[in-house]
């Protein structure tokens, strides 16, 4: 193995581990403010920058300056990010290696990603932001948050629990000794549980399994971030010579796993600067050096590009023509600090950082509540978890300002919804039983859930019952009442979106 290749694998491993470490730090660790810039990956992400730039409202460029830096570096050095830093690319290299076949005749559609990028960009410009679905960094972190981490925790915890209970000689005592290290550093504080785990895992596996068709299939054919960086690498002066296959040797065409070498220099944008060609060139002819760029440029089909762009433009009205979800349903609850729904959807790049950090387990990926194109954006599912009264972590990690970073005092004032009681199922109303668990947990100082003393005849016995009542002016919709309601299954008190701070209409 050549030196450059060793270096690349080292850098890839370190960045991958670094991002995994930041992922593990995306959790409450005893202070209200997170100690590390845990969402660095997305602050580096040019697609996040584009989404935030096209969205209405003020774009916080201070948050996204690393993405600018990456673009500038790409203009100078080319698409090195894909070859050396991208965590999904590294995973494909590591996990895909055993799947790859030595001889693959599949030539792929390397131009497709440019058409996809142009469609996504035009859609985004017209108001429909779909970058999040295809952003490789989002796919990476979303899969980690929603699928890989929960499964890892489940496996590890089940194993440790089993060993703890089975009391096997030697093995169990060893496991109990190492358990605190796992618990404190590698496992989540509480077993993560999310909706859409299977769908997310399926997408991730599909991206991995495509390696079977072609090495780095995703990066070569589909990745819109790769396309964007490829475009930006056009002015790069870091050139490879020879610019195409030499007449006496076809090794570049045969071996370059990005298909960056062609008869002419038209594939230069595919080069991810992995430097493997330094190694496999039998005559050591390959050199990277700064010089004038080659003549031949992209040869994208103008017609297809136009069609893709028009398709992107058309997608936006297609999405907008559907009825607004707020007009017929009230279970779309967004995290505190979320911007108005249309700006929110344009900013959110579906990275899953907020869901990872949510201390109460309230945030889950959406499937259809916010419409067909709200897939994977965060919604509060209060039956599964609640918004902790004094926690502001989701706003701290959001890389695009879709969820604003709030001070605790501001956060306590923000209504994300309103609790309503289902009297057909609430115990004091429906069955004449005492309860008031919702009132006990209500966190708003002067409680937003109060109670009325009510004399009631229960099974021909006069009883003095306390019946809960929501004070709508005080309720902030945190959802702890819905989470803690002891009634089985669907809660007897539920959060609806009425009166949420970000919507123009107030409470009825």
């Amino acid at each position: 193995m050549s030196l450059s290749r060793k270096w690349r694998i080292l850098v890839q491993s370190l960045t991958l581990l670094g991002f995994c470490w930041l992922f593990l730090q995306t959790e409450y660790r005893g202070t209200d403010e997170l100690a590390y810039p845990v969402s660095l990956l997305f602050r580096l992400d040019p697609l996040a920058l584009v989404s935030a730039f096209f969205a209405s409202g003020k774009t916080d460029f201070i948050l996204l300056w690393p993405a600018f830096l990456l673009l500038v570096l790409t203009i100078i050095f080319g698409r090195f990010f894909c070859g050396w830093l991208c965590p999904l690319g590294s995973l494909l290299d590591f996990l895909g290696a055993p799947l790859r076949r030595s001889q693959s005749r599949f030539s792929g559609w390397p131009k497709f990603k440019y058409y996809l990028l142009s469609a996504l960009t035009l859609a985004s410009l017209c108001g429909l932001q779909l970058f999040g679905l295809f952003d490789p960094l989002s796919i990476f972190l979303r899969s980690l948050t929603l699928a890989i981490n929960p499964v890892w925790n489940l496996l590890a915890n089940t194993t440790f629990d089993w060993l703890y209970q089975a009391k096997l000689p030697l093995i169990s005592s060893t496991a109990d000794v190492v358990y605190p290290f796992f618990r404190d550093h590698l496992l989540a504080f509480r077993q993560p549980v999310f909706l859409l785990t299977i769908l997310t895992a399926f997408v991730f596996l599909a991206v991995i399994l495509l390696e079977r068709l072609q090495p780095r299939f995703w990066c070569r054919n589909l990745c819109p971030l790769g396309a964007l960086l490829g475009l930006c690498s056009q002015p790069s002066r870091l050139q490879r010579t020879p610019q195409s296959d030499c007449s006496d040797c076809k090794q570049c065409s045969l071996q370059c796993y990005m298909g960056a070498s062609a008869a002419d220099s038209s594939h230069a944008a595919e080069c991810i600067r992995c430097l493997d060609c330094l190694d496999f060139c039998p005559n050591q002819r390959v050199k990277f050096h700064f010089s004038k760029r080659g003549e031949k440029r992209f040869d994208l089909s103008r017609r297809t590009l136009l069609a893709a762009s028009v398709g992107g433009v058309m997608l936006a009205p297609l999405a907008a023509a559907a009825p607004l979800s707020a007009s017929y349903r009230n279970d779309l609850i967004r995290p505190p600090g979320a911007t108005g729904e249309s700006e929110f959807l344009r900013r959110c790049i579906r990275c899953g950082e907020c869901m990872k950090v949510c201390i109460g387990g309230a945030l889950h990926p959406d499937l259809l509540r916010g419409g067909a194109f709200s897939l994977w954006s965060p919604v509060v599912v209060a039956r599964l978890g609640y918004c902790e009264y004094d926690c502001t972590l989701c706003g701290q990690v959001c890389p695009t300002g879709a969820i604003k970073s709030l001070e605790i005092k501001q956060k306590r004032q923000i209504k994300i919804g309103l609790a309503v009681i289902d009297k057909n199922r609430c115990l004091p109303f429906a069955r004449g039983q005492e309860c008031l668990v919702c009132e006990e947990h209500c966190p708003t100082g002067k409680k937003a859930i109060t109670f009325d003393r009510h004399k009631d005849l229960v099974e021909s016995e006069a009883r003095d019952l306390l019946q809960p009542r929501v004070l709508k002016e005080l309720c902030i919709g945190c959802g702890i009442c819905e989470t803690r309601c002891p009634v089985a299954g669907r809660s007897a008190i539920m959060i609806i979106s009425e009166g949420e701070s970000r919507a123009p209409q107030g409470l009825l």
Partner: protein, 303 residues
């Protein structure tokens, strides 16, 4: 040499044996029993909390009466809510710290603290000030820990009226001594939350289900969990919007500590701080009927 098949069979066989062995209950549980000489009560007031704690415990005969050298102790404060010290939702950190010091001074081998919190445990432990107070002790024998999900066990409640079985946290039952350190607070469904209710923090299960028959359920739980000493923190009490509060207007400073070996006796006196008679509080009445202490304060020896 084992071949692979033999190896697998042998491993499975030993795993099965281990599983069977592990499922045999090996635990003999304490039962809450209070003797007549425990019918004593100490009430002290004072502004210096550490000194107040020391005076109160000394009046009962010192911590040596409850904790013998080499014993393991569980101290169970109320750390239920993500609230700061001034909001009176959790036991005062100085009360907790001083009690732990007294246990260590009495020769306890290990003092463990925990609570099954209502808000996120990490936030509660930090906001309550108790995490800092315990780490300030700088003792490896005293530790504030998160509840271990693996250590709950479902047990029969032989004297149960509202519940016959429930999941309990074994470390609380297995310790040699349990010291109950509640804070006195308003609570809508049980009127007040005091010593008996504080022990809800060492049970598992869906605790909200207990609310429909809270008084008897709390008495049931207290028949299983024996606390050797109940020390009620009434240095400041929460008189409305309990049990988690959140407004300084609802906090009253009383500078008072109440202690008794009997949980019901301590609770009975604490109820008077809120202007109630002990027999007005259903939980206390239920506890008295189970023999968990004295409800008639005139029959209690004041030390």
């Amino acid at each position: 040499m084992l071949d692979r098949r033999q190896f697998i069979f042998q491993s499975l066989r030993s795993a099965c044996l281990a599983a069977v062995a592990g499922s045999i209950p090996q635990l003999i549980l304490p039962r809450a029993v209070y003797a007549a000489q425990d019918r004593v009560l100490v009430v002290r007031t004072g502004e210096d909390i550490p000194q107040l704690v020391r005076q109160t415990v000394a009046a009962l005969g010192g911590m040596e009466r409850f904790v013998k050298p080499g014993e393991t102790v569980v101290v169970k404060p109320n750390i239920g809510w993500d609230r700061g010290v001034d909001l009176a939702a959790n036991t005062h950190p100085l009360v907790v710290k001083t009690v732990v010091s007294l246990c260590l001074e009495a020769g306890a081998k290990k003092v463990q603290l925990f609570d099954r919190t209502c808000n996120d445990p990490r936030r509660c432990y930090v906001s309550s000030g108790i995490q800092q107070a315990i780490s300030d002790l700088n003792s490896i024998q005293a530790e504030l820990v998160y509840m271990d999900r693996r250590a709950y066990k479902e047990l029969e409640i032989s004297q149960g009226k509202a519940i016959n079985r429930w999941s309990f946290y074994l470390p609380a039952l297995e310790a040699d001594r349990l010291i109950n350190l509640p804070i006195a607070k308003h609570h809508s469904i049980s009127t007040l939350t005091l010593g008996m209710k504080n022990l809800m923090g060492v049970i598992g299960g869906n605790r909200g289900m207990l609310h429909s028959k809270i008084a008897e359920a709390l008495a049931d739980i207290n028949t299983v969990i024996h606390s050797d000493l109940t020390l009620i923190d009434a240095t400041r009490i929460l008189v409305a919007n309990g049990p988690q509060g959140g407004r300084l207007e609802d906090v009253e400073v009383r500078n008072t500590l109440i202690a008794s070996p009997q949980v019901v006796t301590a609770d009975a006196f604490a109820s008077t701080l809120f202007g109630y008679q002990p027999d007005q509080i259903e939980t206390i009445v239920a506890g008295y009927r189970r023999g968990l202490g004295e409800i008639d304060l005139s029959r209690v020896q004041r030390l």
